[in-house]
Symmetry: C2
Subunit: 223 residues, 2 copies
DNA sequence: ATCGAAAGTTAGGCGACCTTAAACTGCGAA
DNA sequence: TTCGCAGTTTAAGGTCGCCTAACTTTCGAT
């Protein structure tokens, strides 16, 4: 298990597979290609390389799935990413919509020691600025699947996390008052895949289309 | 002059040329190869690429020299490197002998914004932990050439900086009390390229061979 | 059950870097 | 002045990661 240093590209693929398929589902190469904005053949080739390296198992025409080794590598990057996002925000004053891109590059580059020192400087945090849990350095972990605002039934909800991938979307959410931890009441969806209407605690109503609502993760009001 | 993003490798070559040849001297490809631990043909090929990109001028069998563009790129990396070293030491508690390697990787990865925030967090510092000046973001700059302890005449000296490239050496220097800012008296060299003997302020005497003494940069006691 | 579109893979190419082996240049020594 | 050798460059080949074009498989619709 000599963790042969990953290239940036390899790491990106592992992360893509991880968050498209979670810990164990089969992921198609074209889904990966779309996610990483590369051509389908590029994804196929890489996926074969990942299989050779023991990071994934690959069945032609079926897809890939991470091995334990690949999963560990993906989780380490995810941990780096989320620690970095939080660090950039908390310690260096980055606004939450600009931490993603920076973390995306740095996550491949930081050493174990830097990871640990960042973790310590932040007091061993458990969540990043967008509400996503930070995987522990080792030990069991599974990201609990959450409802999205799009799929959740009407009722009182708490925003748990929001996707960090689109800075513009984050700025918009921030502007209308939607952030992790915020409580809101979903008034339900208009018929035929219509938008979701929510009322925030300050009484403001917002109408959100699928693009947006599917990127907001929620739980029902805590018992 | 659209600063086409540099690859890590390209950046490493530019830095190597910069600190082998300074701002303007011709540097041989084999010197670069030795510095970067690559084969001579690799260095030749890269140097030709650098010339194509406008980062350097290249005369076969003679060597390379940075252009203004290449110099700017090298200095930006040097600035990143030194800011990062200081940041890692000051804000994250890294020991001074371990900041180099981390900075060496990160320097290629950080954005302009992160550079600026680090600079601000450190209060716009002018020196890294090893005593090297930090190039300004823009504007004139030239690293003043210093004597080394090996080449300096006997007399009272102030340590200005020490090479950061070898962690073990740094640990040793630290152990014997040699750090930037320290005052010492050089008692001169033994005949036939013999070692240098110095007396530190606490009275301790140290005998240093060329390997070490050539990596310690000094100035004569300030007037 | 079969046929065709969509999904996925193979083939063939390219650029960046790296290697070793072979060819060349330029310069000091005789 | 020429010879030889150290220093350099060219040649040839490998890997990684990307691309487009062409081929193959799968699967749903008939």
């Amino acid at each position: 298990m000599p963790t042969t240093a990953l290239t940036t590209s390899t790491g990106d693929y592992l992360k893509a597979i991880y968050d498209l398929g979670g810990a164990s589902a089969w992921v198609s190469s074209s889904a990966i290609a779309a996610r990483l904005a590369v051509s389908a053949p590029s994804a196929t080739a890489m996926v074969q390389r990942l299989a050779d390296q023991g990071h994934a198992s690959y069945v032609p025409y079926r897809g890939v799935r991470l091995t334990a080794q690949g999963r560990a590598a993906a989780l380490e990057l995810l941990r780096h990413h989320r620690l970095l996002e939080l660090y950039l925000q908390q310690k260096l004053g980055f606004p939450w919509d600009r931490v993603h891109d920076e973390a995306e590059r740095l996550e491949h580059t930081i050493s174990e020691e830097l990871e640990d020192r960042i973790d310590a400087a932040l007091g061993h945090p458990t969540e990043d600025p967008h509400g996503h849990p930070i995987p522990p350095k080792r030990g069991p972990w599974r990201e609990e699947p959450l409802d999205t605002l799009w799929s959740a039934p009407a009722g009182t909800l708490v925003v748990r996390s929001v996707s960090d991938r689109d800075a513009e979307m984050l700025r918009h959410l921030d502007a209308i008052g939607i952030r992790p931890g915020v409580r809101m009441r979903s008034l339900g969806r208009a018929p035929f895949d219509g938008p979701v209407t929510v009322r925030l605690e300050d009484g403001a109503e917002q109408v959100l289309g699928e693009r947006l609502a599917a990127r907001i993760f929620v739980t029902a009001e805590a018992a």
